[in-house]
């Protein structure tokens, strides 16, 4: 199908190159090109803005200090470092990923072989539906349901913790992981399944021993995409994690992420140390997610099934 389509396209292009170029056509092409240029420039503009804002820190060499130090604005002397937030972001995202990855893989295995025929479609629709639930609602329900539960169950602390946020965030990234993996599993040659069946393998064996190992790359891409989404999320962390700017040492600690830090700190002018810490946090966050996006692109280039983009229905 892919090859057929490619020939069709190249024939179409060749035929159009033979036909005479029309002035109106050129105009329209230029106009459409301007739209693409706008989108591309937007990224450059945002990168430029982040670099420009952190320029004072980068030039004076304070960037490293900012990234490693504590956040103690009312201390004497005050410190405006974002070290705890970086650790907070990383630990929250990784923990959520560790929780979500087995769930996503399990869900996908269920959809591809283990589910009774009548169940598989409704479950897939439910996973799609999960993507349409706003993050603020995940956060809100977590605050009013999960946090009190943790508070009562553990008998200590306020319940606003790394654990609560990670559990909530895991629910948020499960559909991302599941849908990407699902698209890949759907593209696997149906003859492979028939071969497995004729070897007398059970559905569970087929999924575990053949289909999942065959989609190792998609699994990696899904992991990276899930991590990127977990790092970029603001609302769950802001509402559930407690927002204390401290280095996380246990699951029940209140933590603050880079995203929540940006949302919380009030800066009134670009010269203030608060604003500089925001710029540094923004730059760190952008660098992390950009590296992850590039990794996914690279994976997509080497895979047969085309690119590993987030599924259209997020």
């Amino acid at each position: 199908m892919l090859a057929r389509n490619a020939t069709g396209r190249s024939v179409a292009v060749a035929a159009q190159e033979i036909s005479l170029p029309q002035t109106a056509d050129r105009w329209i092409g230029g106009l459409l090109g301007a739209a693409t240029a706008t989108a591309a420039c937007t990224v450059l503009l945002i990168v430029g803005f982040l670099l420009y804002s952190s320029m004072p820190l980068l030039l004076s060499g304070e960037f490293i200090e900012t990234v490693t130090r504590h956040w103690r604005p009312y201390h004497m002397p005050p410190e405006y470092g974002i070290g705890p937030m970086i650790l907070g972001s990383l630990s929250l995202a990784l923990l959520a990923l560790v929780l979500a990855l087995p769930l996503g893989v399990g869900l996908c295995s269920f959809l591809h072989g283990l589910a009774p025929r009548r169940l598989s479609r409704p479950v897939l629709i439910a996973v799609h539906l999960m993507t349409s639930i706003p993050t603020v609602i995940y956060g809100f329900v977590s605050v009013s349901l999960l946090v009190p539960l943790l508070r009562r169950g553990l008998g200590e602390g306020s319940g606003f913790s790394l654990l609560a946020a990670a559990l909530t965030l895991a629910m948020l990234i499960v559909p991302t992981i599941t849908l990407l993996l699902n698209v890949h599993l759907q593209q696997i040659d149906p003859r492979i399944r028939i071969a497995c069946l004729s070897l007398g393998m059970t559905p569970a064996q087929t999924v575990r021993r053949v289909l999942l190992p065959a989609s190792r790359q998609a699994l990696l891409a899904a992991t990276i995409l899930g991590l990127s989404r977990a790092l970029g999320d603001t609302l769950v962390a802001l509402m559930v994690a407690g927002n204390a700017a401290q280095i996380p040492s246990s699951l029940l600690d209140s933590i603050r992420t880079l995203t929540a830090h940006i949302a919380l700190v009030l800066a009134t002018d670009t010269y203030s140390p608060e604003y500089r810490s925001l710029a540094a946090a923004g730059l760190m966050l952008f660098t992390l997610t950009a590296v992850l996006s590039l990794l996914i692109r690279q994976l997509g280039r080497h895979s047969r099934g085309g690119s590993h983009r987030a599924p259209a229905i997020r």
């Binding site: 389509n5 069709g8 396209r9 024939v11 035929a15 159009q16 329209i28 092409g29 459409l32 739209a35 693409t36 706008t38 989108a39 591309a40 937007t42 990224v43 945002i46 087995p102 769930l103 399990g106 869900l107 269920f110 589910a115 996973v127 539906l129 639930i133 706003p134 993050t135 609602i137 995940y138 956060g139 809100f140 329900v141 009013s144 629910m171 569970a204 064996q205 999924v207 575990r208 790092l231 970029g232 609302l235 509402m239 995203t259 940006i262 949302a263 800066a267 670009t270 710029a279 923004g282 966050l285 952008f286 997610t289 950009a290 996006s293 996914i296 692109r297 983009r309 259209a312 229905i313």
Partner: protein, 293 residues
């Protein structure tokens, strides 16, 4: 031969599915049970008469109406900006661009799609601080700024879905234009776009959903708790997702918490409906092509 580890694996898959579905079920059930009682005209308009609020004779103080209006304006405004540009760029990348342009633009759009929404908000916020120090000392965060930043957020989705819809057209549709001697734009306008319209539509609907739900961007760019309905683009505004966030953290009375549940339920119904439309458009598309080939 059936091995024990394989049965364990099957159990794990069933368990994972059950766990996820049960959590989502609990989330939805909790929201519906807790929120259903709050629904009603009082939730939207508070003590103000509905017609007076609709005709803007009287301000609404303790209802969700201003937040609904704010979100509506935000969604309409950002879609007006992002949808035409997104569709145009999608057409350009899939139909006009050469391999090198396609690669560079694809890279930029992947990066743009990966940027966390809070950074879009920070960008807007920094832009205002910059403008204040240079050209416009009176610049402040406002509805217009939020519209622009949300538009940037949904732009990559629009481009990607348009591009994907156009690129997954079958071969005969691509050959139809040249075989009739159509110019490139004519083929795109009269053959490719109509055939891809459902895919583009589903992308458009999803972008609208994303514009309606995002909180991080508006948090940084001009949403406030008690703005009322905005009178102009340079006003502060209220938004449904922000109202949920704000009331969840700052509610002082049970009534305010009830309002947060009402807002959450309304937002969920809105995004659920949007999702339903997108799913319907997408499924129609799948059926169309699977019938043909």
């Amino acid at each position: 031969m059936r091995q024990r580890s394989d049965s364990l694996f099957a159990g794990f898959a069933w368990g994972a599915t059950f766990l996820v579905l049960a959590s989502i079920g609990a989330l939805l059930a909790f929201l519906f049970v807790r929120g259903a009682g709050t629904l009603g005209p009082r939730l939207l308009f508070g003590d103000t008469a509905a017609w007076a609020a609709l005709l803007r004779h009287a301000p609404v103080f303790d209802g969700l109406w201003p937040a609904v209006v704010g979100t509506l304006l935000l969604v309409c405004g950002s879609s007006l900006l992002a949808v035409p540009v997104g569709i145009a760029a999608g057409i350009h990348i899939s139909e006009y661009a050469g391999p090198r342009v396609r690669r560079v633009a694809g890279l930029c759009i992947d990066l743009l799609a990966g940027i966390p929404s809070i950074i879009m908000g920070l960008f807007g916020f920094g832009l205002i601080l910059f403008l204040r120090q240079t050209l416009l000392p009176d610049a402040n965060t406002c509805l217009l700024l939020s519209i622009v930043c949300i538009a940037l957020l949904i732009l990559p989705y629009m481009i990607r879905t348009t591009e994907t819809a156009l690129r997954s057209l079958p071969e005969d549709a691509l050959l139809l234009g040249p075989s009739l001697g159509f110019s490139r734009w004519r083929a795109v306008r009269h053959i490719h776009l109509p055939l891809a319209s459902r895919g583009i539509l589903s992308g458009m609907i999803l972008s609208v959903g994303r514009a309606a739900e995002d909180t991080a961007v508006i948090l940084m760019t001009g949403v406030v708790a008690n703005a009322g309905t905005p009178q102009s683009l340079t006003d502060k505004f209220e938004g449904l997702p922000f109202t949920i966030y704000y009331l969840a953290a700052e509610h002082r009375t049970v009534g305010e918490l009830d309002r947060a549940f009402g807002a959450a339920l309304i937002l969920l119904l809105v995004t659920g409906t949007i999702f339903g439309f997108a799913y319907w458009a997408h499924r129609g598309l799948e059926q169309r092509w699977s019938l043909r080939s």
